[in-house]
Amino acid sequence: MLAESQTLRHRRREQIRSRGLLLSPALLTILGFLIAPLFIVLVYSFLTPGTFGGVIWDWTFDAYVQFLFERDIFDESLVFSTAYLEIYSRSFVQAIVTTVGSLLIGFPTAYFIATRPDRQKTMWVLLVTVPYWVNLLIRTIAMLFLIRDEGPLNHALISAGLIDGPVRIAYTNIGVGLGLIYSYLPFMVLPIYATIERFDFRLLEAAYDLYADRWTILFKIILPICLPGVVAGSLLVFIPSLGAFIQPNLLGGGKNLMIGNLIALQFQSARNWPFGAAAAMILMTVVLLALIFYTRHQMRHRVPGH
């Protein structure tokens, strides 16, 4: 009896050890090369910028103060400045417009795919998935190629006699928005599709019997039940849009900076690492808040018994 419990305990210990052994390469890699670097960025955001990049180990909140105030070069007093706030609010607006745009295209698409016969569904899902895995840089270049002043889109519109001169889309906020929707649309479709797939369509008949019309059914029944998918899709679009770098860089020109470009600039040409680190930490905080909101929302909407 005693021997048996001892072998059992021995085996348990063995199992825990082998589990640790199997997990450690992946966990240590991410811990050492992602989590530790993130902590360093957090620390750097409280340091003083070095003259040629890098940091000086003097603790200060300057990097965060710099977001709202500009230091007057003559008397060192702080003056309220909205330059960086504007970049942040522009990024937010851009990310929200992208999310809403993706939802308007993505929801009907997901619904349509989910109501196809089973054999066709796989094909449709593959068609929507493939673009996600295609190089983001190349897709953005493709968008730029298409919407340039002298690109095929303007060319076609002019040849068709719809417009006289080229319409400027590239290097505007609209161009960036188009690029962002183009990049992240598959993220919206797939989670919504997954929830509609599980939807019990007998509810529609019940609603119809109770004299609900088509659009009432959509907004009062389908949409609320599929809300977890809509929220998941929206976050999957919103988060990468907020931190976008390639799309505003290539499609936006200099006047359409977003947070991602602001961060990149501080580590490349501006060489103000603490300010870049602070900007990165603010973005990270927003992302974490969004994720906390998401987990809470999904917990609340979990169907009992599932």
């Binding site: 998935t129 270049i141 060319h155 931190g243 973005l283």
Partner: protein, 270 residues
């Protein structure tokens, strides 16, 4: 009665949804198809069609910079995705064994590279490599890529493992296979589709990465996306279209393959 059945069938359909779906597909595929078409344009113009030609592909193949960048990209993608797949396979096996303390935390760590915005990972890696004194170049790119490849390899492998009931191994044990043999002759072959799928996804994710590579590459090392970005800065040329089209084909090939393998195993499980 007849009317009711007709309405009942139509209830699921909403006017305009089919149209939006087709528009969505045109939107998703239009730009890349246009780029591919213009890569075969005989003349330099990127607006006017001057006849079919593969000259731009020949030119791209003979471009020294592109050759070197392609070699670097392949080396990094193959190494990073292989290492990441081995790590991810081990992790997935550990995560399979029932509930244990810290399981959720472990999953959180593994999926962290998917959650952190790429630009933050990029600057964090740069700052880290500079602080620790790891020289920026192929080595630093390889390290950074291995990190973000892990979750992409992990997800298909663990999905596959979830589909394998423990009774296969138990049966092997009952037939006097020891732990090693039960693993190598039963479990591993069954996991194989998931491992291949994960390996391919990690490979294209590494091959395609631009943002993180851009920060940790340093002045010497160039990958294909970095080379393309450099070319785009100096203006769009049909040569860029040609390289882009080739890279598109590679991605589409691997994704479709990975998807087909996934479907096959899903069917086999049923």
């Amino acid at each position: 009665m007849a009317r009711q059945r007709k309405v009942g069938r139509d209830l699921r359909r909403f006017p305009g949804f089919a149209g939006v779906t087709w528009a969505c597909l045109v939107f998703l595929y239009g730009p890349i198809i246009v780029v591919a078409i213009y890569s075969f344009n005989e003349i330099r113009s990127i607006t006017v069609w001057g006849g079919f030609s593969v000259n731009w592909y020949v030119k791209a193949f003979n471009n020294d910079l592109i050759q070197r960048a392609t070699f670097n990209s392949l080396f990094i993608a193959v190494s990073a995705s292989s290492v990441a797949t081995i790590f991810a396979t081990a992790a997935a096996l550990a995560m399979r064994s029932g509930r244990f303390r810290g399981k959720e935390a472990a999953f959180g760590v593994i999926s962290l590279p998917l959650i952190v915005p790429e630009i933050i990972t990029a600057v964090a890696s740069l700052v880290f490599f500079v602080l620790v004194g790891i020289p920026l170049g192929l080595g630093s790119i390889l390290l950074a890529h291995t990190v973000f490849c892990i979750p992409f390899a992990y997800l298909p492998i663990s999905a596959r493992l979830d589909g394998i009931e423990p009774y296969f191994e138990e049966a092997a044990r009952d037939l006097y296979a020891d732990g090693r043999r039960a693993f190598f002759h039963v479990l591993l072959p069954m996991m194989f589709p998931g491992i291949i799928s994960g390996l391919m996804l990690a490979f294209i994710i590494s091959l395609d990465d631009f943002i993180i590579t851009n920060f940790v590459a340093g002045p010497g090392a160039t990958t294909l996306p970095l080379a393309i970005f450099g070319l785009v800065r100096t203006g769009l040329t049909p040569e860029i279209n040609a390289i882009s089209t080739l890279l598109l084909c590679v991605s589409i090939f691997f994704v479709t393959l990975s998807f087909v393998i996934g479907r096959m195993q899903a069917k086999a499980n049923r």
